[in-house]
């Protein structure tokens, strides 16, 4: 457990020293959401209707931005070799990086999603329900995205390939997440998101670990 926590701590410190990367995806989130307001007009009826879906989709895209550097930076400077030899199994290295991605991208997006939803005229009482679906949603994206980032590591055109692999896998999460954000009683949708989380929590680190082993080899 100790080297695993040390890995997450390292990820957090590195993210703090290179804060620009995390801030860039937050700014992308805010700017892309405001573009919707500009393009569709200020009508509260229309905006509040599309707000949950827009927040969901843009949060996914914003969380995707730092993913192509998730393993690539360590791969290029040799740190990934050292991580693979740190005594952790490859899947634990992958999980640590995925947790690091969620803490530095998913969590800040979650914190800023409320104000952005209100900017899109979503009623203040509907915001907690939106955040409740985004919490498992961002975790799912970190898992699926981390897996895709590991699979495309070192591949030519990996930057383009990554969203092409990750986003289709996120379709079920988007369907249930956006539906759960506006449902009268969202328990079924939240249960589905929890089920997806239970599916990807073991699969994504294992697949990512195998991909990392293959790419350092």
């Amino acid at each position: 457990m100790k080297p695993f926590l040390a890995l997450i701590r390292r990820e957090l410190i590195l993210a703090l020293r290179h804060a620009g990367d995390s801030v860039a995806s937050l700014l992308f989130f805010v700017i892309a959401a405001s573009l919707f307001a500009f393009a569709i007009g200020p009508s509260a009826n229309v905006l509040s209707g599309i707000a949950p879906g827009v927040v969901w989709v843009i949060a996914l895209l914003a969380a995707l931005l730092p993913l192509n550097r998730l393993f690539a930076a360590d791969f290029e400077d040799g740190s990934l070799d050292q991580l693979m030899l740190s005594g952790l199994p490859a899947s634990a290295v992958a999980l640590g990086k995925i947790v690091g991605h969620w803490l530095t991208t998913g969590l800040p997006l979650l914190l800023i999603a409320g104000p952005v939803a209100i900017m899109l005229r979503l009623g203040g009482d509907a915001v907690p329900q939106l955040l409740a679906t985004l919490l498992p949603g961002t975790m799912l994206l970190s898992l699926v995205g981390g897996m895709s980032a590991a699979v495309t590591l070192g591949a030519r055109g990996g930057t383009v390939l990554l969203p092409l692999i990750a986003l289709p896998l996120m379709i079920p999460a988007v369907i249930f997440g956006a539906a759960g954000a506006v449902a009268q009683s969202p328990f079924a949708e939240l249960a589905m998101l929890g089920g997806l989380l239970a599916l990807f929590l073991p699969i994504a680190p294992l697949a990512a670990g195998a991909a990392l082993r293959a790419s350092v080899g």
Partner: protein, 201 residues
């Protein structure tokens, strides 16, 4: 004791080497020589457990070394041709962010490569030779018996090469093992050259 039996490596579609066999006893050193592309780095990465061998077996004390990768990783300290240095971290932080590790230990490791003056400097300010020395200071911090060095002397000045040779000699004296790939002649007591091109020890 480390023993390689008939190791082979394939990179891309090309056979890099095959039938590589050697034994390394405690206190022994193997210096891999051979032209570029002979497979020195491939062999070192293979012994590190980073690359699975295409054929053959790697034995540690008679048992398959690559059976349990985390266990094998604990036996070795690997310094690859990439320095694995994060420019955003300080020199000391690059040696690990474990809070429980006493700072004196980190400073001693930095002193072994004459970098202790720069401990709190961001690593981005280091020159390429100093970055290499920082990478090599991981050896002093590790308690692993097997050192795997890929071109350790690249970019080092003469004094640093002497210091590295002294560090390696001390490690060998304590019963450690070293496998190093290098083009420059390293002055190591009792080191066997191992020519990958000729494939004969």
């Amino acid at each position: 004791m480390l023993e390689a039996k008939g190791l082979a490596a394939i990179r891309g579609e090309r056979l890099v080497f095959r039938d590589i066999s050697f034994r390394l006893e405690r206190g022994g050193a193997l210096v891999l020589v051979g032209p570029n592309g002979a497979g020195k780095s491939s062999l070192i990465r293979l012994v590190a457990g980073l690359t699975p061998p295409a054929a053959g077996a790697l034995l540690w004390e008679g048992a398959d070394a690559l059976d349990d990768p985390p266990l094998h990783a604990a036996r070795l300290c690997f310094v690859g041709h990439a320095d694995a240095i994060k420019p955003g971290l300080s020199v000391a932080e690059n040696l690990g962010l474990d809070r429980r590790r006493p700072r004196a230990e980190v400073l001693a490791a930095l002193a072994s490569v004459d970098l202790e003056r720069f401990a709190d400097l961001p690593a981005r300010l280091l020159s390429s030779g100093q970055r290499r020395r920082l990478a090599l200071s991981r050896l002093a911090l590790s308690a692993a018996p097997l050192w795997l060095l890929d071109e350790p002397t690249t970019g080092l000045d003469a004094a640093s090469v002497r210091r590295l040779e002294a560090n390696i000699a001390r490690h060998l004296g304590l019963g450690g093992m070293v496998i190093a790939a290098t083009h420059l002649p390293l002055d190591l007591p009792g080191a066997r050259p191992f020519d990958l091109a000729g494939q004969a020890a």
